[in-house]
């Protein structure tokens, strides 16, 4: 505030009340600013630790080779990286064919009441604890066949990916200007053709972003894989056999009693973080481009 010496006679002295209100306001600003710092500090701390502890153990061998037995040095997580990719792509293979049309349905608003129910179901499904999703996949695909499998793991991830895909698709399809659809419909094009040829292509980047986001979310999940994909020490490509996954390896190494494995857990965390956060960033950029 400017103190104006030329106007002392009429300068209103700030009342104690006003000074107090200004003080409260300033204190609030400081508190809110402090909250942001405190909130962002763990991000720096976690990523910093993952990089500083993970990087030393990270080399080409770690990325490509299989684990060595306890006591032997070296070994890697190549099987788990491959496993995570297989599981996540498998999950997409199941979730996309259901999630994208479901999102288009939600955006169409042709059956508002049913749409409301489905939207609510998708939102609630997104909030189902992932461990419970794992249990669901277990009863559906493990219990009847009596053994763990990549298929069950991918299915569990698909359930987790489904709401993300459906809701993002809805969101981006809604952003397609209705003038565009109306123009196409006015030309006599049937609705399905308009949807496939006009709406989805112009929402394509956004839909892709949703799929990438779902992929990265699925790739980072551990709990739903614990009793579906289960994990494996070997390189496996069979959908009916247990398969390794990066988050599972990370968890098992972290709770193991071996120092050597802790180092590998940090390296695995670095690989996983890069995989997941990169997917997230790519999705975000694709989303940002989409809007005009």
């Amino acid at each position: 505030m400017r103190m104006d010496a030329a106007e002392p006679a009429v300068r209103l002295p700030a009342s104690p009340r006003l000074r107090w209100r200004r003080f409260v306001n300033r204190a609030f600003r400081v508190a809110v600013f402090g909250a942001v710092i405190v909130v962002l500090a763990p991000l720096v701390a976690i990523l910093g630790t993952v990089i500083s502890r993970g990087a030393p153990a990270l080399d080409w061998d770690f990325l490509t080779s299989l684990p060595k037995p306890v006591g032997e040095t070296g070994g890697g997580v190549g099987h788990a990286i491959l496993g995570t990719l297989i599981l996540a792509f498998g999950g997409l293979l199941m979730a996309v064919p259901l999630g994208v049309p479901a999102g288009v349905f939600l955006a169409s608003d042709r059956m508002p009441r049913l749409g409301g129910v489905v939207r609510m179901c998708a939102d609630v499904l997104a909030g189902v604890p992932s461990i419970v999703v794992g249990l669901f996949a277990y009863t559906l695909l493990v219990l009847p066949f009596k053994h763990f499998s990549a298929l069950a793991g991918a299915f569990a991830l698909a359930v987790i990916m489904l709401p993300t895909i459906a809701r993002t698709t809805e969101e981006v399809v809604r952003l397609v200007p209705s003038t565009l659809t109306e123009a196409a419909l006015a030309l006599g094009a049937p609705r399905w053709r308009v949807m496939l040829r006009v709406v989805l292509p112009s929402a394509g980047k956004g839909v892709a972003a949703g799929i990438i986001a779902a992929f990265s979310r699925g790739a980072g999940e551990t709990a739903p894989l614990m009793f579906t994909a289960f994990g494996s020490q070997f390189l496996s490509l069979s959908p009916l056999q247990p398969i390794a996954a990066l988050p599972l390896v990370l968890f098992n190494y972290a709770v193991s009693p071996y120092d050597d494995w802790y180092a590998q857990a940090w390296a695995a965390a670095l690989v996983l973080a890069v995989l997941v956060l990169a997917g997230n960033v790519v999705a975000r950029f694709a989303m940002a481009r989409r809007s005009p």
Binding site: R2, M3, D4, A9, V10, L12, R21
Partner: protein, 283 residues
């Protein structure tokens, strides 16, 4: 009344004692009138984009001044500079002076939060607080700032009476503020602004969201308030300006084109642009 007879208090003069309150009966038109507020060489910007350029205007005490002009001419920005609401939007700036009782409100002697209590504002769309009752809406200026009026009931009744709303809502003061019709809601907003006893009331197109009957009601109300409050009304409706105001300013592309007694401005505009606008050739 001629413009030359408006007394513009100069900033270095000690304002409150010097200010003579002139209640203006229609006959006393030649008596000198005091400018309650003066806008002096005011420019306002959004970023680097000037929306007001070097505008200077007096606002005579206890009269209604209308600000007209095509949309985008800066009329809303002008009134928003007068109670420093312009600056709450990030990236905006102001140069020039705005005098209230002869003292620059940007000069640092008055905190904007105090200024806004003395210079009240009514917005385009009625914006009562939906989570508050009718009564609490009227008292919002007190409540929000953590103060209490000496006699809340009297403040509520007085403000609602002045806003010509008392008879309609006196039995439902506890009803939610969102339960009123558009016209009533706007009068509630006027009552809310009046409850803190402002010297000046800025009205930014207060009728643009209302139907003709509700509009007529507000215009009537403006007439009733004029003897007790200095009113500045922004309107894109020239008939409304002609009906309610004593003086009118015509703004075009951020510049003041013409200012004068309303009757004169509408019948013998001095500037061809004013004439074009009031005859409907643009805008």
């Amino acid at each position: 009344m001629s413009l030359a007879s408006i007394l513009v208090p100069l900033p270095d003069r000690s304002p409150p004692p010097a200010r003579r309150v002139v209640t203006a009966p229609p006959a006393a038109q030649d008596e000198p009138r005091v400018a309650k507020m003066v806008v002096d060489s005011l420019s306002a910007y959004y970023g680097r984009n000037a929306v007001l350029r070097n505008v200077s205007l007096p606002f005579v005490e206890r009269t209604v001044t209308a600000i007209i002009g095509p949309s985008g001419c800066g009329k809303s920005t002008l009134v928003r500079c007068m109670n420093r609401m312009h600056e709450i939007i990030p990236g905006t700036s102001v140069t020039g002076r705005v005098l209230l009782d002869g003292r620059d409100v940007y000069g640092g002697h008055l905190d904007p939060i105090e200024l806004r209590r003395r210079v009240g504002m009514v917005f385009q769309k009625p914006n009562p607080f939906p989570t508050m009752t009718v009564r609490d809406n009227v008292l919002a200026g007190w409540r929000l700032t953590g103060t209490k009026p000496p006699d809340a009931d009297a403040v509520v009744e007085d403000a609602l009476r002045r806003a010509a709303l008392w008879d309609e809502v006196k039995d439902r003061l506890k009803a939610p503020g969102a339960s009123l019709s558009g016209g009533q809601a706007q009068r509630l907003c006027i009552a809310r602004a009046l409850a803190v006893q402002p010297d000046v009331l800025l009205m930014d197109e207060p009728c643009s969201a209302l139907d003709p009957i509700a509009t007529a009601r507000i215009e009537e109300l403006i007439h009733e308030l004029a003897p007790s409050v200095t009113i500045v009304i922004v309107t894109h409706n020239m008939q409304q300006a002609a009906r309610v105001s004593e003086n009118t300013a015509f703004l075009y592309m951020g510049e003041l084109v013409e200012f004068g007694a309303t009757a004169g401005l509408f019948t013998r505009p001095a500037d061809p642009r004013t004439e074009d606008y009031i005859t409907g050739r643009f805008g």
